[in-house]
Amino acid sequence: MSARGRGVRVTGDDRDVDRYDRRTFLGRSAAGAAALALGGIGGPVLLSGCSSSSSASTSAKPGVGTGTPKRGGTLTVGLNSDIDGFLPSTNHFDNSGIVYANTVYDTLTAVAADGTAQPYLAQSISSNADRTVWTLSLRPDVTFHDGSALTADVVVANFRALQQSPLTGQAVKVITGVSATGPLTVQYTASEPLVAFPYYLATQVGYVVALAQLDSADPSSHPIGTGPFVFDSWEPNDHFTARRNPNYWRAGLPYLDSITYKPIAQDQSRQSSLQSGTIELMVTRDPNAIVSLQRDPSFQQVTDANPAHGQNDVGFIYLNTAVDPLSDLTVRQALACATDTAQIAKLFGAGVLQPITSPYPEGSPYRAPDNGYPSYDLAKAKTLVAQAAPRHGGTIKVELATIPDPRLSELVQAVQSMWGAAGVQATVSQIEQVTFIDNLALGSFQAYTGDQFDAADPDENYVWWSPTSAGPPGTIALNFTRNKDPELEAALQAGRTNPDPSARAQAYQQVDTLLARDLPYLWLTTNVWSMTGTDKVQNFDNPTLPGGQPARGMTAGYFTPTEFWVEP
């Protein structure tokens, strides 16, 4: 894997597949589409990682700009959702939320292409020997959009807000003390060794907003940060615009004069918008869109497939281990054996998604060599069902649900059918997003689809997997599946507190194995996110850190727009 890390290229082999497909199958006319339909879609499109061999073509790597950056211009980007506000401590930041935040705010640290967390807004970060006290030095002479200075007091105030907010308080509970030990120095004290603390500051809890915003009557509506762009306007469900920050602390950046985000919830509408020129860059994780845009020479595309470091978003099914019949391990095993993930990848992945048996990607040091996750075995599934059924009144009934997404709706119908073949009676329903999340949090569900767990460091998933986050159904718990396994907690703790890399690797491999044994999640496939742009958009996947070191590129649908430029 090259030092560049991100970005994915189609290798020489796939070019041939491309050509064949384009000539024979890429019929945009109805006749062509009909011909395509009769044969089914063309062969798998392999999205391999960066190969070190250079390609035959002279074109630049997608997403990496060539030549001198051009200052000026505007860009319109299509995102997959809107947010409800801009305050990190109270508003929900999904991938789109992080994009908005990265536009007007900076995080204290950022993830580099080599997978490490490096200072970003902070100038340096260090800890004591046992990782319980972390010290941050801020960059001098950084100002917020309203002219106020970035000082340690501001950072402390931000953290206090996080601690006091019911939304984020849980995530930062482990930090017991924060104080300004100098005009530009902040000290954090943790209740236990926190090896991965720098990574936390690269996520939602690492954004720093101005005091004026924190103190205002309506802090969520008008962001004031240190970020590359200054907030201009926001019309919910319509657009968000920000203009260049002339006093940005990273000299010479950003290149764009302004950037506009348009939330377009429907995947197909977003794709049509890109193809019709309404937007110039878009984010999607719809495999069909990824494939058809990959084949279109008028667009450049990058995906986050095959990450070199960290974890990506994965697709799975939450199994609520606290309710009947899923509290019965045999039932969960039966479901795992009945789910043909390879077939699911084929049906819904358009060749882009891969079946998985672990939340850690191939090549990750945290992935156990053989975690023992049950593979697809219909006969075994039937046996297990027959075994368990008497304990549950003769028939095993499971309620499977998802959000009203067209692709996920089809997915659950397929899963229902697969489980049915093993003798499990599953019902399928679609539940709108807010209720869906409520049910997950409260444990009022049986089997729900999930897309989660992207992390630069495995400790970021602690709060979702730890038994300490599990509460009985009816109370709110972040460990939705309520899996309480003391061995799992021990392994998670070991990974969290032991600085030795090989000890950590072992600990998380143990986590991997335990998750495969306890089966709170049925792993399905990878999720692949892509960014696709017209030729006008340059350098949209080539972020760097202040020192020049390459930063981690687009992951799980979020990015930083600082170094984009547009050709006039």
Partner: protein, 314 residues
Amino acid sequence: MGRYVVTRLVQLVAITFLISVLVFLLVHLLPGDPTLAILGPNDTPTARHELLAQLGLDKSLLQQYWIWIRNVFSGNFGKSFLTGQTVANAIAVALPIDIELIIVSQAMAVIVAVPLALLAARRPNRLLDRIATTGSFGMLSIPTFVVAVLLVLVFAVQIHAFPATGYVRFTTDPAQNLRSVVLPSIALAFGSIAVYYRLLRADLIATMQEDYITMARSKGLSTTFILVRHALRPSSFTLLAGAGISIGSLFTGAFVVEVLFQLPGLGYQLVNAIYARDYLMVQGMALVAAVGYVVINFVVDFLLTVLDPRVRRA
């Protein structure tokens, strides 16, 4: 005349009141409440209680209704639980989109329907008439979202004539604004074309039987001339009535189009608010939509009574 207006006004008030009660009740019948949407998975029972009190949701339903309706009368529709935007502001932003969609789509429908109806009325039950009639039924038979998707595929993706999504305000850029409403308006117009065509055709043919038309014909005037000059105007009242019916319901009926084309109009915002249990937003928008419907109906009725002397009497 005065009596008529007064009666209608009284009806308007009564209906509005009943609708407000219905909307309020129905919204509060929805399971779940906004606290989890706002606080997320991390809220504690204390935080929830606090938030409920803050939002005024801990009072009895009757109290909440009274507070709401009292505020509405003073123009205060409340604030969104989620975004903090005032409901009035949100409505003010969303309404122009719907209004423009309605105007443009109905105008399109009329522009297509009138000439077709005129042509058909020239020779009723002949080939053109039959084709137009079947065609108009065909347009009614296709679900709106199918029309919308096809329009986008052809006119936005294949031919970059129009944008696939998004709304540009008229004040920002008039030309782009018109471009952005063309495709959604066509999708909405499909159903209306058939209706206007049929209504107008029937009325034209009927009018052509009138004595004064026969007189005109005996003077040697051509059928076309007569149609346009003499028959069209009295027949257009039915168009007006038909328009009133269509328009009143398009407010929230245009939701499908708004989703596909990502136009944040009233329908789209209303449904989002329902999903988020953003009570005040739902109540405010539903009330506005319902009142709009009633008002438009009344206005059209009134216009017809004033303009069309052929109005029936019960």
